[in-house]
């Protein structure tokens, strides 16, 4: 079974790649250039569709911010709360990716491979972070989730009492 450290490193690598993809898509959006895409004009079609913005904010920028907070939650010292934060951010990211994929398939009728790769990475991140969160600590003694059992044990009655 993977150690917490291995999971965390795997997630850091995936989130960094995701950050790169989201950065590229954000750059493409604001520079107005055509994204590199092997599927004809599909990426362009998705990038310029009405679904490329939510409340006026480009979804590429939302994705970029998402990867930044996921990376930040992975870089802080590991604790129950940091694992929860990573899980929460990646599950939100997964939900967002699922929505965008739905729009690509059923509203825009075009698939952007950059968006699809980001959705795939977010799915893996969400799976790993849920696993890591539910598994809890496998920290060295003294970790914040370690049960402080010693202090909770009431003293035994004195012998002969």
């Amino acid at each position: 079974m993977m150690s917490n450290r291995a999971i965390r490193i795997t997630m850091l690598v995936i989130a960094t790649v995701g950050l790169g993809v989201a950065s590229y898509l954000t750059y493409v959006h604001y520079s107005g250039i055509q994204p590199i895409c092997s599927a004809g004009g599909s990426c362009l079609e998705v990038q310029t569709s009405i679904y490329s913005k939510i409340a006026g904010v480009p979804v590429a920028l939302i994705g970029l911010l998402g990867y930044i907070v996921i990376l930040a939650s992975l870089l802080v010292p590991e604790s129950e709360e940091s694992r929860f934060a990573t899980m929460a951010f990646t599950v939100v990211g997964f939900g967002f990716s699922a929505y965008l994929t739905y729009r690509e398939l059923f509203s825009i009728h075009a698939i952007c491979e950059w968006c699809a790769s980001s959705a795939g990475m977010m799915t893996i991140l969400a799976g790993l972070s849920i696993w890591r969160f539910l598994r809890g600590e496998s920290l060295p003694a003294g970790g914040s989730t370690r049960v402080e059992a010693d202090s909770a044990v009431p003293p035994l009655p004195a012998a002969g009492s």
Partner: protein, 272 residues
């Protein structure tokens, strides 16, 4: 709690064993409680995400904007908007504008495509006012199936639009269709819907329109549109070709559909 205390053990050893058992039991209980808490927190996050995604889906589905066929005052309002846009501009078949206009824009659209609606309500009206009405530009509407799920529905609705073109009123029908577009994938395009739109087109002779819908030439026109789109490798709508009338056309890549600036720039270059 079990009390498997060995009677041979000293009192101190028994105390330590009991303490150790209690500690293990409490650790197990704490671990179970922590796991329960984690499951509750995970469930809460997933529930919150489901709600947020549902809200975004509803908010971006244009539920308030895509109601389908308008009736009564609402229909009058749509007809008035469309009339003020295209009334007085020459139409011929699927073309809007002076046939001798120096520049031609070919607009490949799917009548059920919400992004085409965005263009129809966004960049298109100022282009019509500034360039088509003044005779500098003509716009040809060509069809390309994208948003419409059923090919038969696509053909039927497109032929209905081209049938209005037999009376040089196609652009009324097309504009009204986009203005009264229904919810995507809701199956709103029915015979009643098409008849309702036709009844709204000012001056359309309904019996002639109905008869024209059976003209095989119009179905062939839809097929030719698809072939033209394929030649350009168009896979999405709206897509555009622009060029000097009678000359060669080039793709208009990635135009802003809400504002006319990108179109204006291309048209002005051709007019220069």
């Amino acid at each position: 709690m079990s009390s498997g205390i060995d009677p041979d053990l000293t009192r101190k050893e028994r105390r330590e064993q009991a303490r150790s058992e209690r500690k293990a039991a409490e650790e197990a209980a704490a671990s179970q409680a922590a796991q329960r808490t984690r499951l509750i927190r995970l469930g809460s996050v997933i529930a919150a995400v489901v709600v947020i995604v549902a809200v975004i889906l509803i908010a971006t589905s244009g539920g308030g904007k895509s109601k389908g066929l308008a009736h009564g005052n609402e229909a009058n309002k749509e007809v008035s908007t469309v009339s003020s846009l295209v009334k007085g501009i020459p139409q011929s078949g699927n073309t809007l504008g002076n046939p001798k206009a120096p520049v031609t824009l070919q607009y490949f659209g799917d009548l059920e495509c919400p992004i085409c609606k965005e263009f129809t309500l966004g960049a298109l009206p100022p282009l019509i006012q500034k360039y088509v009405r003044t005779g500098k530009l003509k716009i040809e509407y060509l069809s390309l199936e994208t948003a419409t799920r059923e090919p038969e529905t696509f053909r039927t609705q497109q032929v209905a639009a081209y049938a209005a073109g037999k009376q040089n009123l196609a652009w009324y029908f097309i504009e009204l269709f986009y203005h009264e577009q229904g919810q995507e994938d809701s199956g709103y395009v029915t015979e009643n819907y098409l008849q309702g739109l036709a009844q709204q087109v000012p001056g359309l002779n309904l019996p002639n329109w109905s008869a024209a819908r059976n003209d095989p030439a119009l179905a062939e026109q839809v097929t030719r549109d698809a072939q033209a789109a394929n030649q350009q490798n168009f896979t999405g709508t709206p897509s555009f070709l622009i060029g000097k009338t009678g000359g060669s056309f080039s793709k208009l890549e990635n135009p802003n559909l809400e504002q006319p600036a990108d179109f204006e720039s291309a048209i002005n270059k051709l007019l220069a």
